[in-house]
Structures are given as structure tokens and as C-alpha cells.
């Protein structure tokens, strides 16, 4: 499911962020199932986990799917990384600093890092990787990550400066992501950016990370082995086996059979049963996904342009009941563009508990009254109706939509849903911004920035670059939400390093979005993950298990 979500919204400069653990009801705990006899890390053993699907590539800078980044994460490294508190931590760069004007980032690189083939890692590799992404022939999706990079200056072999054309606060977070993993210049140096995907080493990756690529068999597995010469601690696990399955159900049975040691998401229907049957051998961790789902409403639609209608639609829904039915309670209602565990989350927003009377009032204010058939009609006799477009093949979303439609019907709105194949949905609806409403979800990050979704420059623009319903959609503001004040706030939020100031800015944005409702904000889900107790010293960030190189396998299982 996660891989269907998409964008990594701009991240934050999190130095000041204190991430004290967690989320409502979801408290990741370290999986120390040990019983005191633990003698500390021992080298050896195998750790297996699985994905449902296939990696699209094994080149980090070409990845756009979670499977690819889930694998390259072991092999390639970025300049910096996020630690278990989601704060920046050194990786290939042991230190970094930001110039006073905020326009130059200097990274001091480790001088003891070697590529898996024995070559030395230097600043040239960093420059090469970033320039590859900025090349006009580059076919991946990461170029926007480095959008404001003006120049890359190598000071010496182990020092590099990134010059920005404007302050881009969230860039450090993007640099920390697996998708900006550094690739070796001595391997890819000769290849055109447009042919990078076809390069043999895009399937036979060479990195600097704790694990080396060993084998890929399509439809079966990817095998990684320990990099004995790793610059950091570990790795202690000898072999990492990543199995590939066709769907979530076979993945689950593999976990039950003991074929894999870790499962990223137990289907909600199965959680209770698995907890019962496997509770002794595995540790369960419930983690809130950093993503949310919504129904985007076209802001210039003849009915939906009325804020009263949008608010009435919100009051018509019992979103908690939808979570209870579809996700068996593993989720949280959201009321704006933010998830509850975000540092910028603003609790001070309208909660829109279901209130059919209030909804009826608001509909009435918008000029809609119930007709004999139970549906709402305006003065011109037009029925309140519109269509949600969504993607085929996603059972959960389809169930949510069915429930939403049913609740809206009770309130008098006649809403239909149409399902389209992914490429049709993008090509004819979302990417051209042609719809009345649509259901989708955003993958967020710790940064609350939502420039791409709500800034007017990301909507449909005409030749002159002004918002225009007849123009071409540029970014993700497909609902065409235009609010100059929000524009200003979004710009300000990107340009200041002051934490407190940012919290206030994004708090205000959330309040405005919560009131004006470009989206019907729905829910965020929690995943129950499970790790076999034989895997020791697992480090959990609030989002996922990290730092594989310090994990080890209980010697009894070697």
C-alpha cells in the first residue's frame, strides 16, 4: 500500500527537533526479547525479510518504490542519515555546517570509506551522484530534491560544498534519504545519464554500506552478504535474504512458516490471530504511518467551491467508524495536513465529529434543501452530486469509499465513484487535474511543508504562470486551492531555520486548511510490524527498524 503513496514532501532541518518517542497508542519499543544470557553481538547467521512485489531497480538514485529503497538502504549510504529520534546523524559525512546566509552547506566526509570493490570513496563520488541527478537526461524522479542546488564545489577529497540558489530548509532531510544514496563514479562515470537505468551495475550495485550485493533472482529473492571491511560498527549478520512474494497474503504465510523473520505490515484481519499463535517468538511493534488519506475536492467545482458544502460534507462523516470497520481500529482520524505525531501538529483545529444537524444547517446556508427523494437540491433544482475517481485494485480504499459514499448519501449528497487503472487515473485525471474529486494519500515526512500541494504556483497555470483553471497542472495542487495568505505562509516556512517560527507558521496553515478544506481529510493508518526474537539489538525509529549493521542474530539460530 505504501508504495502507492507517493511524494516525500519536503523535509525539515531537524536539528532542533525533539522527538520524544511517539504517537497515540503506538509506542515502538526496542525488541529486546533477550533473557539476560545475551553475550553481545556475534558475527554470523541470516536475517530474512520479504516484500510483496519486485524492486524496479537496485540503483538508489533511480528508485521510486519502497522496495528498491528498502534494499539499497543496506548497500548504499547517504551523506547523512536519520537516527532513532529522527534527528540527523553522520553517515558518509562525519560533520556538516550551514553558512550564515543559509546558502552554502559544507559536508566533511569520512576518509576511511571504501567501495565494495576496494576503490576509495571521495568527494568526487558525491559530486558525480548529485550531478547525475541534475543532468537533463536523468530519468529518475529525484531531480526536484536538488532543485535549488546551484553548484557543487569540491574543496578537497573529503570536503564538499553545496551552493543553493535560495534557502531550502528541507534539503538536509532529502540528502539524508536513501533515495540520495551515493553511487560510485568509477563504475558509472562513463555512462550517459539517460542510459543509467540500463547500466548492468544498476542491477549489480556497488556501495559503501554494511552489506554487499550478492544475487538477485527475479520473483524469488535478493541476497546480500556482510561487508567485512565496513567503516562503521558491524555488520554482525552474515547474510541478508530478501524474499519476493506476490501479495500480502503469501508474505504473511511466509512469516507464519518462519520463512521470513520480519514482516512490515500484518494485515489487520490477521493481527489478533498472529499475536496469539506467534506471540512467544516475535515482538510486535505498532507504528503510525507517516502518511494520510483524503478526498481532494476541486475548489472551483460548481457545488464544492462553497466552503459551507465542504464543511457540511465533513460533518456528515463518522470517520472513526470507517477506521473501525476497514482498519479494525488501527488508524487515527486526521483533520488537516498533518499527522498526530508530527512536531508541527496543531491540535487546535476543528475536529468535525459527525453532526448531521450541523451538516444540514451548512447545506441549507449553501442553498441546499432535501427533496422528496432524500437528496439535497439547490434553488435551481440541481441535485448535490459529484464523482470520486480512484484507482482500481485497492481493496481498503474501495471499502473506505463505499462507507464514505453511504454516509454522504444519508446526509443527502449523491456521490458516485469511478475506478480507473493507475496510468489512466494519472494520465486523464490526476496529472491533468480533471476531476470533481478524487481519493488519494500522501506520504509525508517529518517536515510539515506542503508547498507542492497547496501553493498556487503548483496549480494549473496559464502561459503567464498565473493560476488558471484552463491552464496546465504543474505540481500537485490539483484541487486548485488558491489562497494568497497560505502562499505567503508556505514560502516563509521554507525560508526560515527558526524552529519556533516554523511551528507557528505550519500551525496556522493547518488551521486554515482545516477550515477551508481543500481536502476531505480522512485518516492515517497504523501498521503492526513483527520481528522474530532471534534478531537482537534491533533499533526502531518511530517509523521503521533502522541501523541494520548493529543487529545480530542469536547464536542459537546460526
Amino acid at each position: 500500500m505504501k508504495k502507492y503513496l507517493g511524494i516525500v514532501v519536503v523535509l525539515l532541518l531537524a536539528t532542533a527537533v525533539i522527538f520524544s518517542g511517539c504517537t497515540n497508542g503506538a509506542t515502538p519499543t526496542p525488541s529486546n526479547g533477550d533473557n539476560g544470557e545475551d553475550a553481545g553481538p556475534v558475527f554470523g547467521g541470516m536475517y530474512t525479510y520479504g516484500f510483496s512485489g519486485e524492486p524496479a531497480t537496485l540503483n538508489p538514485i533511480l528508485s521510486s518504490d519502497s522496495i528498491t529503497s528498502g534494499i539499497t538502504n543496506f548497500i548504499n549510504e547517504s551523506l547523512i542519515t536519520l537516527d532513532e529520534n529522527l534527528e540527523f546523524a553522520p553517515e558518509l559525512a562525519h560533520d556538516w555546517e550551514i553558512s550564515e546566509d543559509g546558502l552554502v552547506l559544507t559536508f566533511y566526509l569520512r576518509d576511511d570509506v571504501y567501495w565494495h570493490d576496494g576503490e576509495k570513496f571521495t568527494a568526487e563520488d558525491v559530486k558525480f551522484t548529485y550531478e547525475m541527478i541534475l543532468d537533463p537526461g536523468y530519468t529518475g524522479v529525484q531531480s526536484s530534491h536538488l532543485k535549488f542546488v546551484d553548484d557543487l564545489v569540491i574543496v578537497n577529497d573529503y570536503e564538499i560544498e553545496i551552493h543553493l540558489s535560495q534557502i531550502d530548509v528541507p534539503i538536509l532531510n532529502r540528502i539524508a534519504a536513501a533515495a540520495l544514496g551515493i553511487i560510485p563514479q568509477h563504475i558509472f562515470g562513463e555512462v550517459e545519464a539517460s542510459a543509467l537505468r540500463e547500466h548492468p551495475n544498476s542491477w549489480d550495485p556497488i556501495g559503501t554500506g554494511p552489506y554487499k550485493f550478492a544475487e538477485y533472482q527475479s520473483g524469488r529473492h535478493v541476497v546480500l552478504t556482510a561487508n567485512q571491511d565496513y567503516w562503521g560498527e558491524g555488520p554482525y549478520i552474515e547474510t541478508i535474504m530478501i524474499r519476493l512474494y506476490q501479495d500480502s497474503q503469501t508474505l504473511l504465510s511466509a512469516f507464519e512458516n518462519g520463512d521470513i523473520d520480519f514482516i512490515d505490515r500484518i494485515p489487520v484481519e490477521d493481527i489478533d490471530r498472529i499475536k496469539q499463535t506467534m506471540g512467544d517468538d516475535v515482538t510486535f511493534v505498532e507504528i503510525a504511518n507517516n502518511s494520510y488519506y483524503y478526498i481532494g475536492l476541486k475548489q472551483n467545482h460548481k457545488f464544492l467551491q462553497d466552503q459551507n458544502v465542504r464543511q457540511a460534507l465533513m460533518y456528515s462523516l463518522d470517520r472513526q467508524s470507517i477506521i473501525d470497520v476497514v482498519f479494525q481500529g488501527y488508524g487515527t482520524v486526521i483533520n488537516s495536513h498533518s499527522v498526530p505525531f508530527s512536531w508541527a501538529h496543531n491540535e487546535d483545529v476543528t475536529e468535525y465529529e459527525q453532526d448531521l444537524e450541523k451538516a444540514a444547517e451548512l447545506f441549507a446556508e449553501a442553498g441546499f434543501t432535501k427533496g422528496a427523494d432524500g437528496y439535497l437540491y439547490n434553488e435551481d433544482g440541481e441535485k448535490l452530486e459529484f464523482v470520486i475517481v480512484s484507482m482500481t485494485g485497492e481493496e481498503d480504499k474501495a471499502n473506505v469509499i463505499a462507507l464514505v459514499i453511504e454516509q454522504w448519501k444519508e446526509a443527502g449528497a449523491d456521490v458516485k465513484v469511478e475506478y480507473y487503472e493507475r496510468s489512466v487515473l494519472f494520465n486523464q485525471y490526476l496529472d491533468v487535474g480533471e476531476f470533481e474529486s478524487y481519493m488519494w494519500g500522501w506520504n509525508l515526512s517529518v517536515d510539515p511543508d506542503s508547498f507542492n500541494q497547496f501553493h498556487s504556483s503548483q496549480a494549473k497555470l496559464n502561459e503567464a504562470g498565473e493560476p488558471d483553471p484552463d491552464g496546465t497542472l504543474v505540481g500537485f495542487n490539483d484541487v486548485e486551492y488558491i489562497n494568497p495568505h497560505v502562499d505567503a505562509l508556505l514560502e516563509a516556512g521554507r525560508a526560515t531555520y527558526d524552529m519556533q517560527e516554523r511551528i507557528e507558521i505550519y500551525g496556522e496553515i493547518q488551521q486554515i486548511l482545516n477550515e477551508e478544506l481543500p481536502y476531505i481529510f480522512l485518516y492515517t493508518t497504523n501498521d503492526v510490524k513483527a520481528m522474530h526474537n532471534k534478531v537482537k539489538n534491533v533499533v526502531w525509529s518511530p517509523l521503521q527498524p533502522i541501523d541494520h549493521h548493529v543487529w545480530y542474530i542469536d547464536p542459537a539460530f546460526h
Binding site: Q249, S321, G393, Y419
Partner: protein
Amino acid sequence: MAQQTATIKDIKADETYLKMVWRRFKKHKLAVISLLFILTIALIAILAPIISPYGYDQTNRDNIMSGPSREHILGTDRIGRDMFTRLVWGARISLSVGLVAALVSVTVGTLIGATAGYFGGIIDDILMRFTEMVMSFPVIFLLLTIVTLVERSVFNVMLVIGLTSWTGLARMVRGQFLSLRESDYVEAARALGAKNSRIVIKHMLLNSMAPIIVNATLQVGTAILAESSLSFLGLGITSPPSWGTILNSGRFYMRYAPWITIFPGLLIFGTVLAFNYIGDGLRDALDPYLKR
């Protein structure tokens, strides 16, 4: 199907053709039972709004994935919708997909086969090469590819299934026409100066009717199966759902709610089987000389 030696004697001179067909069809017990079965399903489908105790999208928060009970005789699905209701509505979709797709398939197949067989020569060559091309594609790839590409609607799914399944009939009709072309009465009609189209319609088409009708019947079953396979791969019809879609939606909860998967599967199985038996019965009944 196997009674050919017995049945040839079975022709009574004073009987109309239709009467004879019915009399002979009745002898095929399974076919008659099947016909009754299909008629029942069709009636249920037509009366869906009256029969169904709930709305097909109506959920019941207190009965999520509950087994068959007095309230929900076939249980409920993942979000508490009544299975019986959904299957009743599903009958509408699945049956109409089967019928329309078969109609499309038979129309196209007959037209192409008849044209090729009647005119022969270069027209025949072109049409038959085209038929071979379409026939050569593995049906499932072709179906999947096209369905992925066109807008998903009941009508498109029908059309695609119909347009990928006409080749067998086209070849058969062509064969019939080729042999009929040389037959005495067409020659005779020609000699009497009948126009081309009249010859075709009156003699050849009527004489090919038996295999066409049998083929059409079997095609309905095949189309229902094809739609259910598409649904299984997530490419079927969703609202109101076809049987295949309902079946597929229960796939991942089989352990907890097997009825979501079992019942629609039984219905598909039974319906397709019934159409096959009817086709078999018709084959025996329509043409005493028709060889197996």
C-alpha cells in the same frame, strides 16, 4: 450428444422444426435442469431490486464478515454488506456480461466467417489471415492487455471479451459457407437469378444456424468465466459488483470469511456448467445430422 445413431430415426415428418427441437431437447435431462436453473438465476437478476433484502452497497457496522445467519442468509462481506444481496445484483452483471459478450462474439464471428465463406478468394484470404492473427494471441494476455488500457465500464468489459472470442466461430461458419456455396440449392437459386444477399440470408445462414446457436450458448459460459478471471486479477466490474469481483474481494479473508469466496465461485461454476449443458442439449436437438 452421443445419441446420433438413435436420433436420426427420430424425425417426424408432420412436425414443425421448432417443435421437433423442443421435443428432442427435452430428452436431455441435464440440459432441461440447466435451463430451469438459468431461468431461475435470470429471474432473480431481473427482480434484484425486489428480492434483495438490503441495498447492494448498504453496510452493517455490527455485522462485519459474519457468517450465514437469519439476518444475512449468506453472511456479510468485509465491510458488512449482505452477501445474498450482492450476489443477486452480481447475477445481473455476470449474466449480462455473458449474454452481451456472446452476442458480440457471435455477431462478429458470423459476419466475418460468412463474408469469407461466401465470397471466397482474396476476401476469404484476408479475413482468414486476420482471424488467424487474432486467434494466435494467448487469450488471457490479450484480454488483460486491452482491459488494462480501455476505460473500465461494464460495456467495455463485455466488448473486449466478445471481441477476443469470435475466431473459432468465424472459422466454422466459413467452412459451412464454403461447402454450402457449392451445394445444389444455392446453385439452383443462383440459376433462378436470385440476388447474392438473398441467397446468403435465406439458404446459407439458415443452414448454419444450428452450430451458431450452439456456439452462442457455450460462449455465454465462456464469457462469464473470462469476466471472473479478469475480476480475479482486479480488472473486473466493481459497482454493482460481478460475481468474480465479489469472489476476489474475499480472497484475502478466506480464513475468516470463506463464504465470501465460496458462494460466488459456486454460482459461477453452476452457471457456466448449466450453459454448457444447454449447449450440449441444443447440439443434439437442433440438428439430427450434426456430428459430434
